[in-house]
Symmetry: C2
Subunit: 127 residues, 2 copies
């Protein structure tokens, strides 16, 4: 039996895997100066409560920093990806890439020559 | 604000997204005649209880059929992907491909020219 670490499926870090977390991390990755709570909420199409819960979990895991300051008289929350968070998210995406390759290969192997709708997945072993 | 259906992250079907479900579906995709409970358990590195719970949810969603028969005096459970299950899983993988592209593009946009470790992800807009 393969060990857990040999299994590409179980090596997917669960802290990133939930679809809304993927959206949050992707948004933060392309924002070098961070994003305000409001921007992040709009970009990820989340409610205040949902976004707050995800941010709390990501902050506890050291993936993001949350900065609170006043802009004039208004409080503003800015969310930034940490170096550790960026590194770990890239590792997660690599693992996701492996999983997608394996799944696409499995689907192709059962299709008996039928064309698959993937644009850019090359099944393992394909020339 | 984009609608839910425009958001590639929320279009990921949750029935398939859990890592162990991905492993189960990938294993079943390449087994035209189905897999026994025992084979599936070993290939996916799961306990009896965990595999049973996932199979129950997948059967209720019409993704798999579970056949029980006797081989001699021993009961044997065989799990088969339904046509609907195969079709929906391929749609899920397409959505996952889109999400991975978007995330890889976001990561690349923040890297300022640094080489990324992806073997085959081409960021959106790359030539």
């Amino acid at each position: 039996m393969p060990s857990k670490s040999d299994n590409p499926f179980t090596s997917l870090k669960r802290i990133f895997h939930e679809p809304n977390r993927l959206a949050i991390l992707s948004a933060l990755c392309s924002a070098a100066n961070g994003l305000t709570f409001r921007d992040l909420k709009e970009q990820c199409d989340l409610t205040d409560g949902n976004l707050s819960r995800h941010l709390k979990a990501l902050e506890e895991a050291g993936v993001i920093d949350i900065e609170k300051k006043f802009v004039g008289v208004k409080p503003q929350t800015t969310v930034l990806l940490t170096d550790k968070g960026r590194k770990n998210f890239i590792e997660y995406l690599k693992a996701l890439e492996d999983v997608l390759k394996k799944a696409a290969d499995a689907v192709s192997s059962g299709e008996e020559g039928e064309a698959l709708p993937f644009e850019w997945i090359k099944p393992l072993g394909a020339q």
